[in-house]
Amino acid sequence: MRWNPITSREEALTHLETVAIPHPWRRSIGLLDDDDDEDRSIGYISIFPGSGDDRSRANVGYILAAEYWGQGIVTAALRIAVSTVFADLPEVVRLQALVEIEHRASQRVLEKAGFLREGLLRKYGYCKGEIRDLFIYSLLSTDQRRI
């Protein structure tokens, strides 16, 4: 993740108001509990299209509360997102994701959702103060997708 953990309710509200809600395509991953009438958000998936000449390409990001890791939730959510995002953002033909080498779980999520690993981009970007090598994955609007 590129941003530092949020540690207070105020920071969370600010993040929601200034980043999450105005975002072009962000969907909460909702969990329906037996006890609740509504689902509660346990994470989200974001799609960031580029602008201008780069608007055919969109970056994918996702986050899930740690207590729910390891159950295939993000994979399922990503498959659902992928099935609708190309219709919602018709100019986008390519989804891509950048993943650190150590994040095997994240790489598996993308692979199970049908993304193809295209290569390793050396010293591609800063992540929390360090320049990192990142794998690049992509899924095209023309790729076959399993839902």
Binding site: R2, D53, D54, S56, R57, V93, R94, Q96, L116, E118, G119, L120, L121, R122, K123, Y124, G125, Y126, C127, I131, I136, S138, L140, T142
Partner: protein
């Protein structure tokens, strides 16, 4: 032995310098050529005013753009564009060369000179220079390979221009790849 020296006239010297308004007629030689524009996002220039507009409004204000000169005469241009924020560690290279000068190793030499210059000028902040080349542009892929870039992968439908999606090959060179890198 460097193949460029072997194949070229020893009196031919390649230099890089900023573009000036007075370069416009030389610029039009390559900027109006369809063969040069083929893998670029822009259409060939048809009017001198377009060349002037490029020099005044794009080339001169650009953070790093140089004319590629052969014995002092501009025969192409080369630029490195830097990013900001989290992406400031990388720059993207691009170049154009007049068609009559293709195949002589000139672009390779200009790329090597530009890479060395930007790593020196942008110091420790710049770690990576990358180049994105259309998968069909085999000539430019060879230029970057000969200039010491690594081919990292094929990015499918990476960009759209002139009405269609392009698969682009990603190349990169790191400061640590360049000989005598001072960092």
């Amino acid at each position: 032995m460097d193949p460029e020296v072997k194949n070229s006239n020893f009196s031919e010297i390649i230099t890089l310098r900023p573009l000036e308004v007075s370069d416009v007629d030389n610029l039009m030689v390559w900027a109006s050529d369809e063969r040069v524009a083929r893998f670029c996002p822009w259409e060939p220039n048809t009017k001198r005013e377009q060349g002037l507009d490029f020099i005044i409004n794009r080339a001169i204000p650009h953070p790093w753009l140089r004319a590629i000169c052969l014995n002092g005469k501009p025969i192409g241009s080369i630029s490195v564009t830097k990013n900001s924020g989290n992406d400031a560690c990388r720059g993207e290279i691009g170049y154009n060369l007049a068609w009559e000068h293709w195949g002589k190793g000139i672009a390779t030499k200009a790329v090597k000179m530009a890479v060395k210059a930007v790593f020196e000028e942008w110091g420790p902040e710049l770690e990576r220079v990358e180049g994105l080349v259309d998968v069909e542009n085999v000539g430019s892929q060879r230029v970057l390979e000969k200039a010491g870039f690594y081919r990292e992968g094929l990015l499918r439908r990476y960009v759209v221009f002139k009405g269609r999606s392009r698969d682009m090959v990603m190349f990169s060179i790191l400061c640590s790849d360049v000989e005598n890198c001072s960092l």
